[in-house]
């Protein structure tokens, strides 16, 4: 009897000790962030390809430009040389597609922008599941290191946001990771906070509401703000800057607004998982409610465009940011990574005058936005040895040190959560080398990402590039007056999209 009681007590005590040790263990399972260094016993894994070269193809946006500034760290750590081809999206796409389809093996690593690149060529890339346990980040090969800075007991996905992993690294299949998250350009609002303060009273007088930007500000409020600045404020030429250049920019505006209007999955109702996409998206705007909302949304796009800067139909991301930096626009919706440019007194007339906010809410009650959340992926046609070389760079460039340093060098859009934590600790804004490093947009970006995850559409279909052409062509025709009505514009898109997918 006593023996049984003793055994029971011992079991309970043991269980308690195990639970306590787990709690203690997890409490001390902290990320190292930018302080992370490879363990001495792992150095040989990083340095096994000393003297060799790897070739990377990536986009000419701040995250990659920033990465160029810190590439010496990787070269010093590994003894490898990195040759980076950096280009605009269309040319980059061309180079990557020709390399993969032609099997020339020119690039070890590709920038894996989900829509224009990943949807089309993901199957050419190496599943990262081959090298690591995607749950824990532990290496599956004895000669390769683990994913940096994943404390024991934590899962790999937690080092990023779940959205980045699902939306950036996976294509159609929920189990395969085609890369690791690399950057996350995100649409946020840039507004002239100085003019908002100055003209608040007048705005209240005319519109009966304050001139401010909150998480609940809607697209209709944005229209009122734009009209107000056009009609009553001489300090700026135009109230709004709105992306409506053919194909990529206007598509980003359209997809974000469609989502804000409550049309899910980019209008393809049959897609099961909005972040994974589908090889067979089904008919476009087949749901009658979605159809009505799309017409309303497109009509509103024209209304917004009519009061926006007239060159929006040709401006790319940089040019729209430049227009605001020169003081010509009061409010723009653009990628957060342009904030440093706006805040640099040497390049911008509006440094210190910009406020940042989450994307506007639509009638669907959603703050719809677009992200260029991209992974970095490894060319699968290369021999295993070359893939391993590429894998080392992948680990480093998506790791906490490179992400933090690249952000500090050029203010990009980091994906590692530790960068956001470190920025938060430093109060979001600090100065480096006399250039103001803007972290405040990171706060807005993080809030948008974590508080409004349903705002992102991440449309992934194998015919994405043709989808871009169809929507770009039809929307710009309507916006410039060549197509008379929004209904005709939407009907044209439906007809062409369904024809593309063989749907009658």
């Amino acid at each position: 009897m006593l023996g049984k009681k003793l055994i029971k007590s011992l079991i309970i005590i043991l269980a308690g000790l195990v639970i306590m040790s787990c709690i203690v263990f997890y409490a001390f399972a902290e990320y190292q962030g930018s302080e992370w260094k490879p363990a001495p016993e792992d150095l040989w894994k990083w340095q096994q390809f000393k003297g060799e070269t790897i070739y990377v193809a990536t986009e000419n946006t701040p995250p990659s430009v920033g990465m160029l500034g810190v590439i010496e760290d990787f070269e010093e750590l590994t003894g490898m040389k990195v040759e980076t081809t950096i280009d605009i999206m269309d040319s980059l796409k061309e180079k990557i597609f020709l390399d993969l389809k032609g099997d020339t093996g020119r690039f070890h690593l590709n920038y894996a922008q989900p829509g224009p690149i990943g949807c089309m060529v993901a199957e050419y890339w190496v599943p990262i599941n081959k090298f690591i346990d995607v749950r824990t980040g532990k290496s599956l090969m004895p000669d390769l290191p683990d994913v940096p800075d994943i404390p024991e007991g934590t899962i790999l996905e937690e080092a990023y946001s779940p959205m980045h992993v699902e939306g950036g690294c996976k294509f159609f299949d929920p189990t395969i990771w085609y890369g690791l998250p690399y950057d996350t350009a995100m649409g946020i609002i840039f507004y002239r906070k100085d003019l908002f303060e100055k003209y608040n009273d007048k705005f209240i007088e005319i519109y009966g509401k304050p001139l401010e930007w909150t998480d609940d500000t809607t697209w209709y409020d944005l229209y009122d703000i734009g009209k107000f600045f056009n009609d009553y404020v001489d300090e700026v030429e135009y109230g709004l800057g709105f992306h409506s250049a053919q194909n990529w920019p206007i598509n980003q505006s359209y997809t974000a607004m469609l989502n804000a209007w409550g049309v899910k999955k980019g209008g393809f109702a049959e897609i099961e998982n909005r972040l994974l996409g589908s090889r067979s998206p089904g008919p476009y705007l087949s749901d009658p409610e979605d159809y009505k909302k799309a017409i309303d949304c497109v009509e509103f796009m024209k209304k917004i465009e009519d009061i926006s800067h007239p060159d929006d139909v040709v401006f790319d991301w940089n040019e729209l940011a430049t227009a605001q930096a020169m003081g010509k626009i009061a409010v723009q919706w653009n990628c957060g990574e342009f904030a440093p440019y706006m805040e640099d007194p040497e390049r911008s007339k509006v440094a210190g005058k910009i406020g940042y906010g989450v994307s506007p809410k639509g009638p669907g009650g959603i703050n719809g936005y677009e992200i260029g959340c991209s992974a970095m992926a490894i060319n699968g046609s290369l021999p295993l040895r070359e893939q391993k070389k590429a894998f080392l760079y992948l680990l480093w460039t998506t790791g906490p040190v490179a992400q933090y340093k690249a952000f500090e060098a050029y203010s990009g859009t980091p994906v590692r959560r530790t960068v956001y934590d470190e920025a938060r600790e430093r109060g979001w804004n600090w100065t480096v080398d006399d250039h103001r490093v803007v972290g405040v947009y990171l706060e807005v970006q993080e809030r948008q990402m974590l508080k409004y995850p349903e705002g992102w559409t991440s449309l992934k279909i194998p015919t994405y590039t043709k989808y871009l052409e169809i929507t770009g062509s039809e929307l710009t025709k309507y916006i410039t007056g060549k197509t008379p009505t929004a209904k005709e514009c939407v009907d044209n898109m439906i007809e062409r999209m369904n024809k593309l997918h063989g749907i009658k």
Binding site: F97, Y238, A245, P310, V313, A323, S473, T476, K477, K482
Partner: protein
Amino acid sequence: MTKVLKKVYERIVAKVPWYVWWIVPGMVILVCITMPPFIWMIRMSFYEIFLSPTRSDQFVGWLNYAKYFSDPDVLEGWRKLGIYVGSCMGLQMGIGFGIALLVNKSKYEGQLLTLFLIPMMVAPVATGYLWRLMLHSSYGMYHWLLMSIGLVGKGGSLLSNPGTALWAIIIMDTWEWTPLVILIAVAGLKTIPKSVVEAARIDGATKFQIFRDVTIPFVSPALLIAFLLRFMDNIRFITKIVSTTGGGPADATKTISMYLYLLCFRQFDLGYGATVGLLLLIFTIITALVLTNVLTKYIMARKGRAV
């Protein structure tokens, strides 16, 4: 075997002029470089080509050709190409020849020619980007000039208006390539025999009659070369469209050549793109042959009468 070789030598080899053999190696290399891709392109036009490694190319027969003749973008593309080529040719030939007449035998002919040739030395893609910057509504000098004289309204640049975007590109092309026409026309003007001009003057011909009946016929062969060169380039080149508008706004600058580029290198619809490319090539060859034949006969006839 020796008899066969002897016969081949006597009937073919011995009759070929000796200088032809010097260009045979070059011709062989040219054929080897150009023919296989051309044949492959014809093959591609009968297939649907998939980018994905898990799907092999699918034979679709004449489907791509049927799609071509029912594609509204194709008709629109040809219409825009017609406007683009027609306007560029008219402006470049007219302005080029006019400047050549003024420059030829002028006091500062050498210096003026050097000045006029500068735009031609700029790479086409650099020309596109340069003009894009100059026409930019935020900081472009040309935009400011055009606004100052009231030719454009506040804000909108020429490139952002579907009605003016194609014309802006025509002006860019004219700026860059009129110097080539000037150069060729000046060379042609120098071939006019002085004796013929003198004879016409002695016979009492007016300046206009000398220009119409002597100058034009003698310079026409040179102008024909300039015309053909520019015609072939205008049909094919899309550099300025790519570097300025990308085919927009609202497809305003999406000529058939630009559409071909978008199909092949943006959408990667290589099968249909091969069809569009092949038909564009056939059109270009036929048009060039017809123009060359017709214009050559006309020029030779007029030159004969001039002499």
